[in-house]
Symmetry: C2
Subunit: 222 residues, 2 copies
């Protein structure tokens, strides 16, 4: 067997804040790049993890306190030059969660940055985030993916803002609502409305249970 | 650093044969599953490979004699259960080539199977191939991807057959030609036609050079 290769999982944890698509970074507690902000990540643990998704769930839980949100494999970044420790593989996943879950988390090591205003990050993390944003952008065009950023209940104007943040463009209200009808993933929340400043109250919606992913915040981070 | 993990690259090498989408398998020369047919693959060599794509090119060349055809990362398959040797990662790529290059290859260890008529293969290779077919199917709907299966020059009826094999459905001739016009990747080959049995000769096309990938067959396999 050839020489061992560093095998890790990194997670691009995305939220919407101030109507912008943002990424959650975590302060590194080890060398290299100790104390610098980077994507939450860690080694695969052959003893504990059944597969990569399992590793991503464990690492996300340890670093952010979040239990499995919407999580999908993005791409694998690998090579001789990306990590000063040696040849490394990172199987990158992206996760979408409601911002409130991050903002209410007690983990002081987490920070939030708009994806289009990032400083230079360690490793190839800028490139990884750019790839994730491109994937989200593409998928938002034809899927209910952005709904996972919207929290438990939301108005259609709010959901439209989220889609717009993902797509990087404004949408026509009528055609957006038609698209949502087509998708068929939403249901109204009986009797619940959102007051929207000077506007009339907006009906609240949620994902139908069959399209809902399991998401929970640990009372205290691990 | 935790215990080492087996780090490999596998390649789903696809061609069209008898108007069917087929995968090229290679006889394994090592345990586990020695002498069984499986996807061409191998260990990442930290000393030789700059990155995963580099590893895929090297392995494909060693096992099939093919120099870089159209090659794209598919997905990473990883876990404790997929390889009897232990926890393993396979960064899977897919490659599309003209069937003639495989059929004229002198490597006796290569065999060709329709993707929808595969026996049970070693590891999780059936699942990997199914994932590749799904990706090709999706991408064929909106890209020039199937052109890489068509060889140097081809008629539009031939290219339509290839698209149909990728998509798993028949296409309307008029709308197919309109789509190809829209894509704008083809150019006519001056004066060249293909005789098509009882039909009148068909104009030959090729990929415009800016949409062409580099592909070569070694005179003798390595």
């Amino acid at each position: 067997m050839p020489e061992p290769i560093i095998s890790t999982v990194d997670i691009v944890l995305l939220i919407i804040k101030d109507d912008r698509l943002c990424v959650t970074l975590s302060k590194r507690d080890k060398e290299p790049y100790v104390n610098q902000e980077a994507l939450p990540g860690g080694y695969i643990h052959a003893q504990d993890d059944r597969d990569c998704l399992d590793a991503a769930v464990r690492i996300l839980q340890q670093k952010t306190g979040l239990l499995p949100p919407y999580l999908e494999q993005l791409k694998t970044f690998a090579g001789a030059a990306r990590d000063p420790r040696g040849w490394s593989i990172s199987v990158v996943h992206f996760a979408l969660v409601d911002a409130d879950l991050i903002l209410s988390a007690t983990n002081p090591g987490l920070t939030i940055w708009p994806v289009d205003a990032l400083r230079r990050l360690p490793f190839d993390h800028n490139e990884i985030i750019a790839t994730a944003v491109e994937r989200i952008r593409n998928k938002s065009q034809y899927s209910s993916l952005p709904c996972y950023l919207a929290g438990e209940t939301f108005s259609l104007p709010r959901l439209q803002k989220i889609y717009e943040a993902c797509l990087g463009e404004t949408l026509n209200k009528v055609s957006f609502r038609r698209k949502m009808d087509e998708l068929g993933v939403l249901e109204t929340v009986a009797g619940q409305t959102e007051s929207a400043g000077a506007h009339r109250p907006a009906q609240l919606y949620r994902l139908k249970s069959e399209f809902k992913n399991q998401l929970k915040l640990l009372v205290r981070g691990l």
